[in-house]
């Protein structure tokens, strides 16, 4: 499913709409950058509480379909700027990680 559709279905807000047509293959929930670097697969949509600047670099490196900050968390302006530069999709979900992941899982694999 395309990221724009996922965002529409689950009520995510785009902070950086770099590549809305990218395909979301699955989800990955983690707040640990090292874990995402080691285990996330290309195309996965990353749900996180982590707002560190390095989130953008990790998402780019792992070729993730985007980063979703959960429970309404918003990263600082430098994170948004960097994501825009790097072409990394950034979104915000109003729900917490458990709820957001549950709904994404159901949407992608009903």
């Amino acid at each position: 499913m395309k990221l724009a559709e996922v965002a529409e279905e689950l009520g995510f807000e785009f902070l950086v709409r770099a590549r809305p047509e990218v395909e979301v293959t699955d989800g990955y929930v983690s707040d640990l950058l090292s874990d995402v670097l080691a285990h996330a697969e290309p195309g996965e949509l990353w749900l996180t509480h982590q707002r560190h600047l390095n989130v953008v670099a990790v998402a780019k490196l792992r070729e993730l379909s985007g980063v979703v900050f959960v429970r309404g968390l918003r990263p600082g302006p430098e994170v948004v700027r960097k994501a825009r530069e790097e072409g990394v999709n950034l979104l915000v979900s109003p729900a917490e990680a458990f709820h957001t992941a549950g709904r994404l899982h159901k949407l992608l694999f009903p």
């Binding site: 929930v29 990680a97 992941a101």
Partner: protein, 131 residues
Amino acid sequence: MKLREVAELVEARFLAGGDLAEREVSTAFAADLLSDVLAMVREEGVLLITGTVTSQVVRVAEVMSLAAVLFVRGKLPAKPIVDYAAQAGIPLLATSRTMYEACGLLWTRGLPPAKRKPLPFEHERSSSPPT
């Protein structure tokens, strides 16, 4: 949802507190950042889903009266941590599924998300005590 059902759904095994498998968990909260758990969870009886396996996880579970901790991504805490949880009466479960899969499976099967606590910056923060 009983802990036994949680274990079955995500193919988890009990590391500690297997005798508490009939305990009910009311809601779930997923995070690796413990500061998030400390700041957000406001009710008791919550299942914490985490990939963090430090001793602080069990301390947080104890301080917050969580129902149980489910470790994901195949990560296992060291034995002293498991022993501490066992004597503190905190069930520990472990699954090789990812946090995303565990959340997906449990939410789809009806385990509700923990009620969120409003963060201080969502309100006017008062620096003086209420009277």
